[in-house]
């Protein structure tokens, strides 16, 4: 049986969540592995959300926001854009592979792109196998 990764998606309300809805209204089929949590802006995504998801058993985390320059709140996506590399550095220290946590831009009109991102992400995380660190991280966090 192939491994089915569990991926948590954090999507901004205005572009990416709407884009994901558009994939639905356009009946564009894609992998069922990503469950979406809606936030108003990608800038709301606190790095602890990602850590929490990994700790609770996510094999991957997908963050989607408006394309640079298109943010409903003018510049929120630039904030996650700057925050993200720091988070990735931290995750690398935890031994979490690069492909498990991903930041992508999906606009409200890009239903197809959302589907493509989900499919690609699912494939890559599937290839990595189950998250090796979820238990490690849990112990680590509990000790702190």
């Amino acid at each position: 049986m192939t491994f089915e990764p569990k991926i948590v998606g954090f999507l901004c309300n205005w572009c990416s969540y709407t884009g994901a809805d558009l994939a639905g209204t356009s009946r564009i089929h894609y992998a069922p592995n990503v469950s979406v949590i809606r936030v108003m802006c990608s800038a709301r995504i606190d790095p602890t959300f990602v850590l929490k998801a990994l700790k609770d058993g996510a094999d991957g985390v997908l963050i989607c926001g408006c394309h640079p320059g298109d943010c409903h709140y003018t510049e929120g996506n630039y904030k996650i854009m700057r925050r993200f590399p720091l988070l990735k550095k931290l995750l690398a220290d935890y031994g979490i592979e690069n492909d498990r946590v991903r930041l992508e831009w999906v606009s409200a009109s890009e239903g197809q792109r959302f589907a493509d991102v989900v499919n690609d992400m699912t494939e890559r995380v599937r290839a990595l196998g189950p998250s090796p660190v979820k238990t490690d991280l849990a112990t680590d966090m509990a000790e702190r």
């Binding site: 969540y17 809805d21 639905g24 069922p32 709301r44 298109d70 003018t74 904030k79």
Partner: protein
Amino acid sequence: MNEPKIGVYVCNCGTNIAKVVDCDAVIEAAASLPGVEVARPYKYMCSNPGQEMIAADIEEHGLNRVVVAACSPRMHEPTFRKALQKAGVNPYFLEMANIREQCSWVHDEPVAATGKAKALTRAAVLRVAKHEPLERRSVDMCPNTLVMGGGISGMSGALDLADAGGKVYIVERDDHLGGNVARVDLTAPYLDSARDMLTERITRVVEHPNIEVLLESEVEAVEGFVGNFQARIRSKVDGGVSDQTVDVGSVIVATGYQEFDAARVTHFGYGKLPNVITSFELERMLREGRLVTKEGGAPQYVAIVHCVGSRTLEFHTYCSRVCCMTALKYAHEVKAAIPGCYVSDIYIDMHAFGKGHEDFYRRSAEVKTLFLMYEKNDCPVIRKAGPEDDCEMLIEVNETLSGETIEIPADLVILMVGMEAREDSAEVCRLVNISQDKDGWFIESHPKLDPVATTTDGIYIAGTCAAPKDIPDTVAQARAAAARIMGRIAKGKIEIEAVFAEVDEDFCSGCRMCNELCPYSAIEYDDEKKRSHVISALCKACGACVAACPSGAIKARHFTDQQIFAEIEGVLA
């Protein structure tokens, strides 16, 4: 707070959800979750019986929270919030699980889709248990309106608002009103004078006691929120500038378009052949009543070329909508000015979609216009004629309908340049916080159902800043925007969203990191208390400050850490 008593409702949406997702299995899984009192399926939750079912359960089981697993919250969250409110439960005690757009419509394997629907519903149940009651507040609606742009669109919207009793400020960059229509001679398809039409508008606007026209002025900043904006306007006066700030409740953006620069197209010889001119250059001659070539003589042959810069992958892919009828108008106007002049009209497709347009097309053929059709990617070639020819230029057209290559004479070639978004439209977007599409046009709140509002409440768009359109459509959109604003003014109050950020001053260290971060300048620093606080009416609830606060002192109402953590636990359990 009482213990959560949650009702879970799973919508079949006819067969939209039920044909892929096993709704009974979702119900069964939800029923065993902590706090869930009742869990029921229904064929259409959004229908009246569906909503009444929720109300009846609230009454009977004393439910204090509700989860509806159905379509996207972007679709029916307001519907179910209202249903809760009607039943006496705070509307923010609702959470929706999106099992249609993001599940049944995108997955075809029932086991996996049902598993995902269960996870999303579980996340909603765990989340709703953490919800807090929120109250919407209402503030007074300022009856004044700012209109950016004094063209036909801005003036038409302004007049309706002013007639209804509201004060209107029209801010116009130029030293006169009228916009692009002021550059036009006659209008299609009835050949009425644009000047007459404008004069009526301008006279009424200028004389209207409720309208203040600010010429040679620009809007520098718009702050505040729906019903309560403050607009800073800079006007040129006697070589200097003067600033003023006005209070307005709404803004109509009617900044219009700019013409496509014909020099960007190289193959028509614009800028090289002196008698290749643009449609606006011809309008100028027509308005002055002097239709001549650069050499000063009356042209014997006039050729009109359509779609310059429009409907091409190279420049603009869209159709500019007005050029076809304007081209036909030129056929009439040229013939009227110079009887016996030969007019040829070289087009790709004739777009005669509007009221009276097909008849106008037929009448244009009756005045002996020679119509030549060319293929999109096979543009006519214009060259200087030789000394033996009785014309200035020769145009070679691979004519589609006859299948032949035809050479036609021309003394004057008119390029039908399309409309494009103004160069500085991105600045306007930033000013009033609205968005542009890929072509630079301003985006409406809904392309079909809400074509005058934008994603920023209180900011409306009208006319050609939103997309190419003709005068009737422009005026209709402007007056629709005015009507929307009047509705709000009549109501007198604005409901403010209950979702915003708030600072817990006990935890705030006064580091001021959030102050600069906020794109709306909604966070103020209190020098005495050495603490920051959020001006809730200005906050748009993006949550950027919440994630950035090093002390965890800022709470995003309705998107709290606890609520999102619960959701994470729910999708992963």
